[in-house]
């Protein structure tokens, strides 16, 4: 079982994108070429005025059954003992199979380095006893990171707009209960 996972409470998200900014800043991800490790996906449904909007901050789910790992022909993608899934750019041959097979469109091709990149769960920060950059900044507790054994029993395993977790077993849960009622 993975050691860590994400806990998302979309109703608390204010779309400030501190999570995206923190990721970019910490990991030095190149800007302007479409490489985004973490992205706030905003989805709307319904018709005015009965419209609904949901904001999901998503990155790599470091799935238990990561398809990216399975399809990589050169074993450039590996899993650490704590479950963090990493791409080794020095082995990547840019076949882009991982990009095709990830149900969450996570591995991204960097047109400058010609390699695949994705969220590392800030493994370097975890190793220092810190949280990933994104969770360190989220100001509303919409995005949390923690021990999977604590998270897995909370919330539900999917929401609208998130591919069925049955395939790859992503380490993420969603809180869908509403605000304290009246």
């Amino acid at each position: 079982m993975a050691k860590y996972g994400w806990l998302l409470d979309p109703k608390r998200c204010i779309e400030c994108r501190a999570c995206e900014a923190a990721c970019k800043q910490w990991n030095g991800v190149e800007t302007g070429i479409g490489v985004r490790y973490r992205l706030v996906h905003v989805q709307e449904a319904g018709a005015f005025p009965a419209v609904r909007v949901q904001a999901l901050s998503l990155a790599c789910n470091h799935c238990d059954n990561a398809w990216c790992m399975k399809v990589c022909p050169v074993k450039a993608i590996t899993r650490r003992p704590d479950g963090v899934v990493l791409i080794d750019q020095s082995r990547c041959v840019s076949c882009r199979q991982c990009e095709k097979f990830c149900p969450y469109q996570v591995p991204t091709f960097n047109e400058h380095t010609r390699k695949m990149e994705k969220c590392t769960m800030c493994a370097d920060r975890i190793d220092q006893g810190l949280q990933p950059a994104c969770a360190t900044l989220c100001p509303t507790e919409a995005l949390k990171w923690g021990l999977w054994e604590d998270i897995r029993s909370q919330g539900v395993d999917r929401v609208a707009g998130f591919t069925n977790p049955v395939y790859t077993k992503p380490n993420i849960r969603f809180i869908t209960s509403g605000w304290p009622g009246k």
């Binding site: 779309e15 400030c16 994108r17 995206e20 900014a21």
Partner: protein
């Protein structure tokens, strides 16, 4: 490959293969020097963000003298140890390759948006000498009224400089922000406050303000706390905004008609006697003017309000009753939204003030309260100046026609162009433009026109702005990451807290702060005002040490910045006496207004521009959550999130106009026209178009934001002071969103 450490002298001594070239190789020592001791590797410094006024505390991770990572400061009341996307990306501002670096002057006298100014670098000495000379000449030849300062009045030493030379014409963006609220609150509750105790509120009514999308964390976290504690939130906004998502009830109200709903709510609360009797009877002038008040609001029924606004009468009535019964209730008024959006902004903030008074939450938990803060002495308190010269001259912005605005220190952006071009042509001879761009004005083309008539313009900023095209002298400014200051919390201040702002890096290139400019211009133009008690020039570092010491924060600034944060938890004692217009009670009916061109009670007035055959649609603007006014578009991290603007349309309207997603669209009003691609969404009213503010500016030379987007303001009419008087806009609302347009495919 290991390289051994070389000796400095090896490099400066004669090499093996030199064939002459003394000067060529000698130049090495012009640009290099012996290396100092190895710089501290990793370091954590505390500072305060400077992108928006709540100034969230920052914990900065530094690596080898560079900013590595910014995160929030634990224990901080603002941000609570977190930052928003803008704050997190702060390093990009300091390290923007386009940032202004050295003072420059133009050598080509011809000015225009597409004219090469022929910049050459000058020293700060020359820049300041030139400005002082030009300003001095203008004053002696034409009087102080010939100077125009487009700047905020802070820091206080900058205000001191302007006061010391008798500046008459200073304008700032506050008419587009909270000016009307500040003006009215002076007469209703005793003063404007930023402190909204959302956390303890049980009923929050938000007119227009997309509070969560502004990502002022202090407010967002307060609202979310309120939700966690079961509070009810009602949101009126023509757009299903980020805030609307958090609301329990959302009404897509007709733009500019929130005033009707607010008046009707007062009517319900007053006529049904639902107001907080204890508070109203004890602490307000309701009793004194009761008959007038009851009579006045009778006409503003929820049924009438439904006609104007589209909000069902049943809802308005019920919400009013709930607000009164299920408190503490709060109706915040803030900045651009509704204080300044429409011509009825003044009436709106008066109505909002009355609602808060009726709820009995003025300086009470769950309501708008006055900050409990540490008094940080001003420069005038530490080094008392000689009496300032009287401000003699004509107001280019016409604020003298608005008695209540005249009482306020602010000036009006929205009437400045008209003042320069029409009311007082040729009066302004010299201008200092600080940290603003022409994009910040309604109808920027008219403001460019006005700027072009000013013979001498000095521009100070961190980034290249469109204004630079008209500058004679450009001064490079420090960012908030390169300056020292003390920040007393005033957005969340049930008890005092002060956070340090310290330079994370020394000012880059030759950037300086506006405080430095104030002092240096002061030395040249008004030396008597810039000496300390010993007759020496005021020293900015000593000033900061004095402030720190007198505020009780430490022996000096260096000591305080080690701690970084000072908090004094103390019980909150609600006021029982309010300092209002010479009395001690809150005022619902404001008798003083009658003599000052305003109504004692808010009356209904429509917005300025109403849909017509020629301009059938409402024009709405907003600032994206990841941007700040018009100064962040070049930040690469933020730019990637929101690179340019679009014409945001409801699919129903789009299909009527035969417009598809991404298609170029022209938006035209009575003053101008812009073109941008359409973006369709169900979240906006089908009789409106929304455009993000802050784009369509800046030189095409800018690395990231150059040439992108359209200027939302080109479509928004500016105004004259006479217009404001005629319209009963006594609080000086800039009508920053008050436009109607037609829309067509390009």
């Amino acid at each position: 490959m290991t390289l051994t450490r070389r000796d400095w002298f090896r490099l400066t001594g004669a090499g093996a293969v030199t064939l002459g070239g003394e000067k060529l190789f000698g130049s090495f020592t012009d640009y290099f020097r012996p290396a100092a001791e190895a710089a501290a590797n990793e370091q954590t410094l505390i500072t305060a963000c400077g992108i928006c006024s709540p100034a969230c505390g920052i914990q900065a991770t530094m690596k080898d003298g560079s900013i590595r990572f910014l995160q929030g400061l634990p224990g901080d009341l603002s941000g609570r140890g977190r930052l928003c996307g803008k704050g997190t990306s702060g390093a990009q501002f300091a390290y923007d390759p386009d940032r202004l670096k050295y003072p420059m002057k133009r050598t080509n006298p011809a000015k225009g948006l597409d004219v090469d100014p022929g910049w050459v670098r000058i020293t700060w000495q020359e820049a300041l000498d030139t400005i002082a000379a030009k300003f001095g000449d203008a004053i002696s030849q034409y009087g102080a009224e010939s100077l125009l300062f487009i700047t905020l009045a802070s820091p206080d030493i900058w205000a001191r400089f302007m006061n010391s030379i008798g500046v008459v014409n200073r304008v700032d963006h506050l008419d587009e922000c909270f000016l009307s609220d500040r003006i009215i609150q002076k007469y209703t509750t005793g003063g404007k406050t930023w402190c909204n105790d959302f956390e303890n509120s049980k009923y929050i009514i938000l007119f227009g303000w997309d509070i969560l999308a502004k990502t002022k964390l202090v407010y967002a976290q307060g609202i979310i706390d309120a939700k966690d504690r079961g509070a009810k939130i009602v949101c009126f906004n023509p757009q299903y905004s980020a805030t609307a998502r958090f609301a329990d009830e959302w009404y897509p109200i007709k733009p500019g008609t929130d005033l009707a709903v607010a008046l009707a709510m007062i009517q319900v609360i007053v006529s049904e006697n639902l107001y907080n009797k204890d508070f109203v009877d004890t602490y307000t002038n309701f009793g004194e003017f009761e008959a007038k008040i009851r009579e006045h609001f009778q006409q503003y029924t929820p049924e009438w309000a439904e006609q104007e606004s589209g909000v069902p009468a049943e809802a308005t009535r019920r919400i009013a009753r709930e607000f009164a019964a299920n408190g503490p209730g709060i109706v915040p008024a803030h900045k651009k939204t509704l204080c300044a959006n429409y011509q009825n902004g003044s009436q709106m903030v008066h109505a909002i003030s009355i609602l808060n008074i009726l709820a009995g939450t003025i300086d009470r938990p769950g309501g708008r309260y006055f900050p409990r803060t540490v008094a940080i002495p001003s420069v005038d308190a530490i080094y008392p100046p000689p009496a300032y010269p009287p401000k003699k001259g004509r107001r280019v912005d016409g604020k003298d026609k608005l008695p209540l605005v005249l009482e306020d220190g602010s000036g009006l952006f929205s009437t400045t162009a008209d003042g320069i071009l029409k009311q007082y042509p040729g009066m302004i001879k010299a201008c200092f433009f600080n940290a603003y761009t022409v994009l910040g004005f309604p109808n920027p083309p008219r403001m460019f026109e006005a700027l072009a008539t000013i013979p001498f313009v000095a521009v100070m900023d961190t980034l290249p702005t469109d204004t630079v095209s008209y500058a004679d002298i450009v001064l490079p400014s420090t960012t908030y990451l390169e300056v020292n200051d003390l920040v007393a919390r005033d957005y969340k201040a049930l008890y005092p807290q002060v956070v340090v702002r310290q330079a994370l890096v020394p000012p880059m290139f030759e950037t300086k702060s506006i405080g430095y400019v104030a002092l240096e211009l002061g030395k040249r133009m008004a030396p008597d005002y810039f000496k300390d008690s010993a007759g020496q020039w005021i020293n900015l570092n000593t000033l900061l040490d004095e402030r720190t010491k007198r505020a009780g924060l430490g022996e000096n600034f260096a000591e305080f910045k080690q701690k970084g944060i000072f908090t004094k938890e103390q019980p909150f004692t609600p006021r029982t006496s309010f300092s209002v217009a010479g009395g001690t009670k809150c005022q619902i009916y404001v008798p003083q207004f009658a003599a000052k061109g305003a109504e004692p009670l808010p009356i209904w007035r429509p917005k300025r521009e109403l849909p017509s055959a020629e301009y059938p649609y409402y024009y709405l603007t907003f600032i994206p959550a990841v941007h700040r006014r018009n100064s962040t578009e070049n930040n690469r991290i933020l730019h990637e999130m929101f690179p340019t603007n679009a014409a945001i349309l409801n699919p129903k309207l789009a299909s009527e106009l035969k417009i598809e997603e991404g298609q170029m669209v022209r938006i035209t009003s009575r003053v101008g026209s812009i073109e941008l691609p359409a973006h369709l969404t169900q979240t906006v009213r089908p009789d409106a178009v929304m455009v993000a503010h802050g784009f369509g500016h800046r030189s095409r030379l800018l690395q990231t934001a150059g040439g992108l987007g359209a200027r939302d303001g080109d479509v928004i009419p500016d105004q004259s002071a006479d217009e404001m008087v005629k319209a009963g806009n006594f609080g000086g609302a800039a009508c920053i969103m008050d436009a109607v347009v037609r829309i067509e495919r390009v």
